[in-house]
């Protein structure tokens, strides 16, 4: 009714996007008061470099969550990507580009494997991706038991460098959004993914192919995760079988904070991306104020709970208990 009154063409910024945006602005302000250098070119570059990986992982997670699933293998797939890329990229001059492509392909294939387990194996997404997370992590350890490896300097610069105030990491994020997210969002398959998350049975009787939509969502999530992994490889110039671990739960946190419903069917990408920035910046802001990094989890958790309490109030307004639990 509301949007009807506002008329066609007008799109309000959803509350869900506004929350992390305001939160990020606040954190930035707090940071800046103590450390004005944060708004220098160096400050902005380091801030973006810190945040982009989580934002990319959150994009991957969002896609799966929209279908009504969850991806617990995000972290270990990131680790696997870094290990693979850092181990084989530096082997010879011409290896870098093929290895880069191969890493992305691994992302697509592993994502598709998750999807296949869910769609054809009829496994709960939670179980399927928990299982594959161990498999991917195990393969990462096989490739590279210890952190190490190398990447060509141009690769590191291409992703983490900057042109005055413009960090390349931000460019990577924007390019990813434009090349993967926007086309997906504007295509029929993207619409089908959202519809499946809304109501799978309705999607079926509306003539959509729920299996195809889910498979596509998981595979694309794998691709996005591999992009995140490549970025971390460039940032750390090495591969590490454990570097991705924190990203699994943090990506879920960013998705929830970004206003994407864990029940599926609902969500825009701006929220999770901004939440990635918010969650990554809180830590450095606190450090700037001399608050120990040990507070990190506690503060992140409180921010998350505060937002979720708001969501909880909405649930309280539902009409019947069945709706509430259903």
């Amino acid at each position: 009714m509301k949007s009807q009154a506002l008329g066609r063409g007008y799109k309000a910024i959803p509350f869900a996007t506004l929350v992390p945006a305001i939160g990020f602005a606040l954190v930035l302000l707090i940071y800046w008061i103590q450390q004005p250098l944060i708004l220098s070119d160096f400050g902005i570059v380091s801030l973006c470099n810190q945040s982009v990986a989580l934002s990319l992982a959150a994009m991957a997670q969002t896609l799966v969550v929209i279908t009504g699933g969850i991806d617990l293998s995000v972290g270990s797939l990131i680790s696997l990507s870094t290990c693979f890329a850092a181990t084989y990229m530096g082997t010879s001059e011409g290896a870098a580009v093929p290895v880069l492509c191969a890493t992305l392909l691994i992302g697509v294939l592993t994502g598709a494997l998750n999807g296949a387990l869910v769609v054809f194996g009829q496994l709960e997404p939670l179980i399927a991706t928990l299982g594959t997370s161990f498999v991917f992590g195990g393969i990462a350890l096989q490739i590279r038991p210890q952190p190490g490896g190398s990447v060509p300097p141009w690769f590191a610069t291409m992703l983490t460098g900057n042109l005055s105030f413009l960090p390349y990491s931000l460019v990577l994020l924007l390019v990813t959004v434009c090349l993967i997210w926007v086309p997906l969002r504007k295509s029929r398959i993207g619409r089908a993914i959202q519809a499946v998350g809304n109501n799978e049975h309705s999607a079926y009787i509306s003539g959509l192919n729920p299996k195809k939509a889910k498979l596509f969502a998981y595979a694309t999530a794998g691709l996005l995760t591999a992009v995140a992994g490549l970025f971390i490889t460039a940032q750390t110039t090495s591969g590490d079988p454990n570097v991705g671990d924190v990203y699994t739960l943090n990506s879920i946190a960013a998705v929830v904070l970004g206003g994407v419903s864990l029940r599926g069917g609902r969500g825009r990408i701006a929220g999770p991306i901004l939440s990635g920035f918010l969650l990554s910046t809180i830590v450095s802001a606190l450090l700037a104020w001399g608050i120990s990094a040990l507070w990190q989890s506690l503060i992140q958790g409180l921010v998350l709970l505060l937002v979720l309490a708001g969501v909880g109030l909405q649930i309280q307004r539902s009409e019947s208990w069945r709706q509430f639990f259903g």
């Binding site: 619409r191 009787i205 069945r322």
Partner: protein
């Protein structure tokens, strides 16, 4: 009455071929049969729909209407028989194929995506795209507007999200979605059930104009007056078989109801004679439950009744007319959106939560045994004691096993539950025995009002008889019983009084001599004028 019965049933084949149509039928369903497990939902269903007609499909609960709809619309495939569309034998792999082939369905349970816009819903899966495969949103809106304009002045904006629409508006969108496929045949399954009189009238105008443009419309409704107003012909189903094809001149309610009831009527008369004389209700006592003018937003309107100790009060009507909502409301499962005066056991007001309802002395045997009644992986004994754990725990809060076992044993033998070991998970019991345990759960708690929500669905005949015995026993002990069932037969034989529901209202109260199959069916389809007039 029963003597004239066989004479008045027309030979379906005669009327079917003598309808004098110049055109060939667009759709022929021939001898369709479908089983689900051991249940034969459809045996031998026939239906012919011609271009330029509105064809009503009628049947009582369980006659196979919804199975036939799902077969025709491509949701499921028939076991036997053939569907012919425009002279070609077809077998739809999905509703999408059916729609593309020219048979679009407006489903009873809405198939919309609440979080997408109206236009996106209408054109889902067939969005116009640009060369690179991007959806042209402005074209989507444009086409949706075109389709919506077919439906007249709907007042629905194509870019509104469906979750912001009323139920009636959603129904309109659902119809627009079906029309987007430009079907030759449109299947409307209870398409008016959520609509107000004005919206219904608009829909009827649309249906007539579609008919006049040569399309065939298959129309399913629980409102007899609608069928009479709009249908050109009708097909009547009973027990999964087509028992009659009528053309408009032959529409006669008494005749139609006789076809829908068939031999069941005579069977019912026989069984009624076998029932022990129903006891007189005590008039000196006060009612356990008194309800006045109960409203539940969009579901129940002006419900008033009393339940006396020892009474079995039946709830009848076609499915989804508010019976389940009433039971859920009484059991505290709605949190808001209701009003009215309610008195339970002398306490005023409705329970706010199920646990509050239990404290007030209510027990619910829910409609879905597997997901709501029983906790399948738990042992039989744990299922028995689930609602009365407080009485079974000691001071430390631990469950007293000996007391639990004693009660479980007592209940299991009283209810004749067939189980080898009460420690086995309940899922190993047969459906009927599971249901007995669900009832037993409340017996252990000893409420004063039992709410039964279609307790014999999917239960074998032997266990059904057992459940009837239990219900009668409860009543004879002075409990109040509200018994919702989709089977008229058991309502007639079991209940002292039956409330018939239609569109969330009580369309009739039947007791004594009046409580017959025929009257139940008549009230379900609303042969009598609605109480309180149109809203």
């Amino acid at each position: 009455m029963s003597a004239s019965l066989s004479a008045s049933v027309p030979d379906p084949t005669v009327t079917a071929t003598s309808d004098g149509h110049l055109n060939a039928p667009i759709l022929i369903a021939e001898n369709l049969g479908k089983s689900f497990g051991a249940t034969q939902a459809l045996r031998k269903a026939d239906l012919r729909c011609y271009p330029g007609e509105v064809h009503a499909l009628l049947g009582a609960n369980g006659a196979g209407k919804s199975t036939l709809v799902r077969l025709l619309s491509g949701v499921i495939r028939p076991d036997t028989g053939t569907i012919w569309l425009r002279g070609k034998s077809v077998r739809f792999a999905s509703p999408q194929q059916a729609a593309v082939a020219g048979l679009a369905t407006v489903f009873q349970e809405l198939s919309l995506f609440p979080q997408l816009a109206v236009a996106q819903n209408i054109l889902i899966g067939q969005e116009p795209t640009s060369r690179v495969g991007w959806i042209k949103e402005d074209k989507v809106i444009e086409r949706a507007e075109e389709i919506l304009s077919l439906l007249g002045e709907t007042g629905i904006h194509p870019s509104t999200k469906v979750e912001d629409l009323s139920l009636g508006q959603r129904q309109v969108v659902e119809i627009a979605k079906a029309l987007s496929h430009r079907p030759d045949i449109l299947l409307l399954d209870e398409a008016t059930s959520a609509l107000g009189p004005e919206e219904s009238a608009r829909l009827f105008k649309l249906v007539r104009s579609l008919r006049d443009s040569g399309k065939g419309i298959i129309f399913i409704s629980h409102r007899m007056e609608e069928i009479e107003a709009i249908a050109d012909r009708m097909t009547i189903l009973k027990d999964g078989e087509t028992v009659g094809h009528l053309i408009r001149d032959q529409f006669d309610r008494a005749h139609i109801f006789r076809l829908m009831l068939g031999s069941e009527l005579s069977r019912a008369i026989n069984t009624r004679n076998n029932i022990p004389e129903k006891k007189k209700l005590p008039t000196s006592e006060s009612p356990i439950l008194r309800i006045q003018n109960l409203e539940l937003r969009g579901r129940l309107h002006g419900i008033s009744f009393e339940l006396w100790p020892g009474e079995i009060l039946g709830l009848a009507g076609l499915e989804g007319q508010g019976q389940v909502a009433l039971l859920h409301l009484l059991f505290g499962m709605y949190r808001r959106g209701y009003s009215g005066l309610v008195n339970i056991n002398g306490q005023t007001g409705l329970p706010r939560t199920p646990w509050h309802a239990v404290r007030l002395g209510l027990g619910l045997i829910p409609e879905d045994r597997k997901t709501q009644g029983a906790i399948l992986p738990l042992p039989v004994e744990a299922n028995f004691s689930l609602a009365s754990l407080r009485a079974l725990t000691n001071r430390l809060g631990l469950i007293k096993r000996s007391k639990e076992q004693f009660i479980v044993q007592k209940l299991a033998s009283a209810l004749a539950v067939k189980t080898t070991n009460p420690r086995d998970p309940i899922v190993r019991l047969s459906g009927g025995n599971q249901q007995k345990v669900v009832i037993g759960k409340w017996l252990a708690r000893n409420p004063s009002v039992f709410l039964f929500c279609d307790p014999t669905r999917g239960v074998d005949i032997g266990a059904k008889a057992g459940i009837y015995t239990i219900v009668r026993q409860l009543a004879s002990e002075g409990k109040g019983v509200i018994y919702y069932s989709t089977e008229h037969e058991e309502l007639v034989s079991l209940c002292d009084r039956v409330l018939v529901f239609r569109d969330g209202r009580i369309s009739g109260t039947l007791e004594g001599e009046q409580l017959t199959h025929h009257n139940l069916l008549e009230r379900s389809f609303g042969s009598h004028q609605r109480p309180g007039g149109k809203d």
